[in-house]
Subunit: 346 residues, 3 copies
């Protein structure tokens, strides 16, 4: 009997199945600097403990995407090792900040299945939740992936398509315990703009671009203990190139968005997202955002939320230009189309 | 008088010489994540403090190879700066786990010398020991290297060949204080296999491959403060390529072996090892293991040891295929042939 | 109104202006290892807490250039985002060591302005000071940069050229609280040389070379939160190459200088410096030093200071050879010409 994990195939999943993912991971303070080496993020709460304390947080949280990437990496071996594509995200909510010293582990529940007409693959929907060492939920998301079948002749399961929210409602966004923006220091944060300064429909060009290299995304992806072979092995794809983990582009675009959205300090939810095209070494990634909505969450503590479409492209393209062509398909230059809520001072 | 270190030559060593290597190094918690960026290791004890605690360890040890690499790096400037080749290892024993906050330093004793027939070089055997800040030994190994002579006319020393064990006996393996596998959580660790599930002679293909890049091995090798010029300087070799530190391949193969040998949680000894061929950027490294032996070390605490041949190759080759050709030389695709003991639940 | 930062242009600066730079940054223990991955530094005080304690320091300082790079990075967005060139440094003094847990922020005062005869750009002199979370100054320097004008027709400001010291006087060097070299362990530090062993005019060839790669300098530069686009984006320069942050070469040359100047343990001042030519991936960096001066700072604690010219070149060139050609311009192989004071046991 083989002792190695061949990954799970479409017919191995059933609706209601609960997967307890290995391996738990203890977060260290060093992750903060690792994250900076890969993305160059400058959001003040994650950068400075003094700034976090000034915003009412007694401890210094790590960037919230660190929790996302580590949890996501934990799900790969059982969910997406044989995935053809990561099709989408929904209902991702950040339930509490992550701190050095905490230990994260992930569980997933299979919430939907649909065999493709080719009978060679199918779509699996899972809801994954990341827990800390006290088993308190830290964040949760739904994603769906296209997974190969081991044997096309295995009968199709009953189709179950989960009923997913298009958008996380602003009322269900979680404000971290203690967070208070009444004394927010805009000068130290880097920009004067508060929630009321942004208009729905406003487009923000984040200006800068970053040219991708293989060593950087490989190191980042290993840091998340994501072992999907396409990221590391030039034998794994016919073109001999390493596919860049989609989450790498999310973090890069988010870091670029500092320029113009400095005060969108903490991501509270990801409403949806698509990795529209593969990113490869040599691509230069630019980003722009569109303001989709705004909500005041806590007037006395001056906490609001801004809903943003965060777009990453290969090469510089006009901010706000159409993402899809006439056939409704993403243009080839679009890498990421992400819909998120971030907390911002009102 | 030159103030720089030209490295020591063969005629500078004498049997019985004791070298106190600079520079001591304090281990930080951040090393845990650095190690993940380079190797993507997923062994549960090194990954999660909660898992380590569940195995009876009151503190959270770093991967044991971190201690090896740092100690090895400390010996380079005095032992192998002028080495032509690192010929082999023996009798490497891990005497206690290494923890953040500890400070390591290394000493070496010259235990053997043999001039080569060319009179231009010779073989130096050293036993190196790494100590913590309390001067307690942390790990120890023998290695032998071929070193240039400064002057071929210097008379040869008496030949002294040390008497080395082929294999560290299972009785002399050290079980870390407190380690207890009775409550080992196989689900969180990632695989259900325990010592009794492995057969001597069994071959395990670790499936995945990783394509090497220069920046990654350079950064890892600097982290170990290993300054051997062939790793960093394209002027140092006629082919203009950077030779990859052999220990980098050890750690990479060990990380790949997670798939199929998840529960070989901690390396207890390295019985021997050869860097069969140089590894260079662009090579894709695969690994397989052969089970060589098994021993129960502590029945009540369910601690066993598995002896493994861990092989790394460039390109994918059939797991378990012959490592050497008809002339008894390593095939050109073999990078590493390592014989080790690892602790595993019984 | 655009919400993004286009950078400041020459006409945006006025003498006496005080800039409070975002974003503060908390230093973590992990920075110590990050610094090693990029530069491979082996100075004993920064490497080992035990060694630092043996030198009278109750806590374990980070490499002093970490404070410099982070502070420098904080000034980029407001000072040099539209800089054509970073022209020089002066009067850089390290006022106290930096420690994990501290939070650094930077301020700059504009101390000089001079429009160029082309009227398209001008030179801006700033004195930047980095403060810890108690608002105590940690280090301070003057630099001058050539900055584009937004509009050539804007009238020139009055020319103000600051009066700068050629050299920080040895009397104004700050010895860290508690530092005491009376028990300095030369064996563990790696070399036996003390201040009295060096002669003014002595040239030290640091022997080794390091070939630069893009991923490494990009990651380092992000760690310093330096967002200047030329370092990251192949679209930003006509040659499609990424310019390497000058501070990367400073740290690399300083790390290479370990070989021969091991006991120049801590940088106390940078008297001046020029990035003589751009450094690019593929260049192999070598370094040599010339002893310019020596001073005893504290006889009872055996603390001296050595003044060094630290030179980095692309490719190997004779140590001590002329840096400039007959026209007084730096030779094309010279990357860095740095004049510094370092603390050394007497």
């Amino acid at each position: 009997m083989s002792k190695t994990n061949p990954g799970r195939f479409f017919e191995d999943f059933y609706v209601g199945e609960n997967l307890h993912h290995p391996v738990p991971r203890t977060l260290s303070e060093g992750l903060r600097d690792q994250y900076m080496t890969f993305y160059g993020s400058r959001f003040a709460i994650a950068s400075a403990s003094t700034f976090a304390n000034g915003c009412g947080l007694s401890r210094h949280p790590l960037d919230e995407l660190i929790g996302f990437h580590i949890g996501f990496g934990q799900t790969v071996a059982e969910i997406s090792l044989n995935a053809i594509a990561n099709l989408g995200y929904a209902e991702c909510r950040f339930l509490k900040p992550v701190y050095p010293g905490e230990t994260l582990r992930a569980e997933s529940i299979v919430i939907g299945l649909k065999e493709n007409s080719s009978r060679k693959s199918g779509i699996v929907w899972v809801r994954s939740t990341v827990y800390d060492e006290m088993s308190e939920p830290v964040l949760s998301w739904v994603r769906w992936v296209m997974v190969h079948k081991r044997d096309p002749d295995v009968p199709a399961p009953d189709t179950v398509k989960p009923d997913l929210q298009d958008v996380v409602t602003s009322k269900s966004l979680v404000v971290p315990n203690g967070l208070d923006f009444t004394g927010f220091n805009f000068e130290l944060a880097g920009e004067p703009h508060r929630l009321g300064d942004y208009q729905v429909g406003e487009i923000i060009d984040h200006v800068d671009g970053v040219t991708l290299t293989d060593p950087e995304h490989m190191m980042a992806t290993r840091l998340w203990q994501n072992t999907a072979k396409v990221h590391f092995n030039t034998d794994a794809r016919p073109d001999g190139k390493r596919l860049i983990y989609g989450g790498h582009i999310i973090s890069l675009a988010r870091a670029l968005s500092f320029n113009g959205l400095t005060n969108a300090q903490m991501i509270a939810a990801i409403n949806g997202g698509s990795h529209a095209n593969p990113a490869l070494a040599g691509d230069t990634v630019y980003a722009w955002s569109e303001v989709l909505d705004a909500a005041v969450l806590d007037e006395t503590r001056r906490i609001g939320a801004i809903r943003l479409r965060l777009v990453a492209t290969k090469g510089k393209h006009e901010a706000g230009s159409a993402l899809k062509n006439d056939e409704g398909k993403y243009r080839s230059e679009v890498l990421l189309d992400l819909d998120l809520w971030a907390l911002m001072p009102t």
